[in-house]
């Protein structure tokens, strides 16, 4: 018999004091990520460093540092085709290099997650300062018309949560998913509680159930998302970045091209409700609505609380999905408001979307900052008082 009675453990075993970048790793591993291919770049490097330590300890985990970001995403695509949940992490200059393979992943419908920790740009820009300048690049950076899913997070817990969601959406819709963070969110250290395994819904791609000889790799279906076998499982098919027919073979027949393009868009569009994540604060009676994302959403939250204290009817919509732009949710919330305030650390990239959805009904005020510094609650409050 042990001589001492064991004291009840009051410490929360699952609480950690973590960087946003660390939370991304926790989220990815929780979601079942077992492959990371990357290239070091500030301010995303911690993700690669922690993955390099964690993945080889798993039964099947693979970390590989590639020669550049083009190669990183190429390796991630290869791993995903081989059946892995795979990801990479980068920042602006690396994200620019990845555009080629983002298009490939859209066209070949390869599930994967790209974390882009935004820093000041263009070009080498401000390597260790935050910005939100890659929003429209995430949407439209690769050539050709294409649908894509872009998510965002504003605090350390959200980094974890949105990474899990990013993997789920990638697997569900066979699409690349981009998680846009900013230097502040990625490098903020906060206490978070790691969720119990099983507390998050984890989605894994649907594999074909029919015998290989019946399998048509890009067959049209109600869902629009074809089942995806891993390479080597007996379902031999052709994967290509060329416009292809239902068998995966290159085609330029107008009706086959049209069918493919429409399905690629439809598979995302028809599940719009499943992809839009927005968080409301004091929106019910709000006349002034702040629309913000990333680290700026935290400033906006404080500004809205302070504005309420001063008697202003202010509210906040925090965007956790940036694209497809959460139009239905936004329209509902925007019905009664007079002014929309969009603070962002660029010259107006999400405000374009807001103006498009708003369609002239309310006044849209932008608040832009591009000096590598966060937009402060005071700045937002000042604007709220003015309008």
């Amino acid at each position: 018999m042990p001589s001492k009675v064991k004291k009840p453990n009051r410490r929360n075993e699952r609480a950690i004091f973590a960087l946003g970048n660390e939370a991304v790793v926790e989220g990815a591993l929780l979601a079942g990520c077992s492959f990371f291919g990357g290239y070091p770049i500030t301010p995303s490097t911690e993700i690669a460093e922690i993955m390099a330590d964690r993945l080889p300890r798993l039964d099947d985990g693979v970390f590989i540092q590639m020669e550049d970001e083009i190669a990183s995403l190429g390796a991630v695509i290869g791993a995903s085709l081989a059946g892995r949940k795979a990801m990479t992490a980068t920042s602006g200059p690396g994200f620019s290099l990845m555009q080629e393979h983002i298009g490939y992943a859209c066209m070949a419908e390869v599930p994967l997650v790209i974390v882009n920790v935004m820093r000041g740009g263009p070009s080498t820009g401000l390597p260790t300062s935050p910005a939100q300048g890659d929003v429209q690049q995430a949407r439209w950076g690769t050539h050709g018309d294409h649908p894509i899913i872009v998510l965002s997070a504003s605090d350390v817990h959200e980094c974890l949560e949105m990474t899990v969601r990013a993997f789920n959406l990638a697997e569900k819709y066979r699409s690349p998913v981009i998680l846009l963070l900013d230097e502040i969110t990625a490098h903020t250290r906060e206490k978070i509680t790691l969720p119990e395994p099983g507390s998050f819904e984890i989605f894994t791609r649907i594999k074909p159930s029919m015998p290989p000889e019946w399998f048509v790799p890009y067959e049209e279906s109600m869902r629009g998302v074809p089942p995806m076998p891993p390479l080597g499982a007996g379902y031999r098919f052709h994967v290509t970045g060329l416009t292809h027919d239902v068998h995966g073979y290159p085609t330029s027949r107008p009706e086959e091209v049209q069918n493919l393009m429409q399905r690629l868009f439809r598979k995302i569009d028809q599940f719009f409700y499943d992809i839009q994540f927005v968080e409301e604060t004091a929106c019910d009676d709000a006349e002034i609505l702040v629309i913000a994302y990333g680290c700026v959403a935290r400033s906006a939250h404080l500004a809205v609380v302070q504005a309420r204290e001063k008697g202003l009817k202010a509210g906040l919509i925090k965007l956790k999905t940036l694209f497809p732009f959460p139009r239905p949710a936004m329209e509902k919330l925007m019905q009664h408001c007079r002014v929309l305030v969009v603070p962002e650390m660029n010259m107006g990239q999400i405000s374009r979307e807001v103006k498009r959805v708003n369609n002239g009904r309310a006044q849209v005020r932008t608040l832009n900052r591009v000096d590598g510094q966060i937009i402060t609650p005071g700045q937002i409050l000042k604007l709220l008082q003015k309008v």
Partner: protein, 277 residues
């Protein structure tokens, strides 16, 4: 002949609409034949083979074969292959690239794949030109030869693929021409059997885009050129030194043993798990 057609029926796709994209006289089909024979000889199943291809004439070869086929982006085939092999080392990953594909736009990926010794067999189909886009110079277009983008002759020096692979640390480097089919079969079989990064360069004539602009009247003249100038290493050594420079050595240049990256990774994993238990 029946044997050949049996191989065709077994290894090529039935539902893919032929004719293929390759020109009359092109050597790419000979490499494909050699690859199919090698896979057959080794008894590999179609399910375990992944054929990864780049962009260009060579890139179009994959679609005709009944393996797991991945037609990737220009120059990046090796990066996809690296991900596939690391994710599932049980697969036999073969990469088909052209010269412009592997060495111009993909030069960086090429040297790094060789350096890290990832377990793939890389076939470079070297026709000294960008064929599909209409005959522009590549990084292996010989100096002074004419192409659509070097109408006054190529001023730059060209890459020697074998030397480049050696310098980058490849443990198996071999070269043949499509005329020397038996050698080609032999080196592809060896390359497929070995662990790690194995490079096979196949010289293949492109009369349409290269030969006819560079004093080869017919494609047969290009094959004759191979016959005259491509010499096995031992035959080359017997030539007086002054005559060697004009010749193209063929054969096996490097054959060394080393652990592949994916093997080393498995070792790392078991080391970490031993430490943890």
């Amino acid at each position: 002949m029946a044997e050949v057609t049996q191989l065709i029926h077994h290894y090529l796709r039935h539902n893919k609409k032929f004719p293929h994209v390759l020109c009359p006289g092109c050597g790419h089909g000979i490499v494909l034949g050699s690859l199919v024979r090698s896979i057959h000889q080794l008894g590999l199943t179609k399910d375990e083979v992944v054929l990864v291809a780049g962009i260009g004439c060579s890139g179009r070869i994959a679609v005709y074969t009944d393996f797991n086929t991945v037609h990737t982006t220009h120059g990046r085939a090796l990066t996809f292959a690296t991900g596939i092999k690391m994710a599932n080392p049980g697969l036999k990953v073969i990469v088909i690239m052209g010269d412009g594909d592997a060495l111009s736009i993909g030069g960086n990926h090429f040297i790094h794949a060789a350096r890290r010794n990832i377990g793939v067999t890389a076939l470079i189909l070297n026709n000294n030109i960008y064929g599909m886009t209409g005959g522009q110079s590549s990084s292996t277009t010989p100096q002074d030869s004419v192409s659509m983008t070097t109408p006054f002759g190529q001023m730059e020096k060209s890459f020697d693929i074998v030397e480049l692979a050696k310098a980058a640390g490849a443990h198996y480097v071999a070269r043949s021409t499509v005329l020397h089919v038996k050698l080609l079969d032999r080196i592809i079989v060896t390359a497929l059997e070995r662990p790690g990064f194995n490079l096979v360069e196949a010289l293949t004539p492109c009369h349409t885009q290269f030969g006819r602009k560079n004093k080869f009247k017919t494609v047969v003249d290009m094959y004759k050129w191979y016959k005259k100038n491509a010499l096995p290493l031992d035959a080359l050594a017997k030539l007086p030194e002054a005559q060697r420079n004009a010749r193209v050595p063929i054969g096996i240049f490097v054959q060394e043993e080393a652990h592949s990256l994916e093997d080393r990774y498995v070792m790392l994993r078991s080391r970490l798990q031993e430490g943890a238990s």
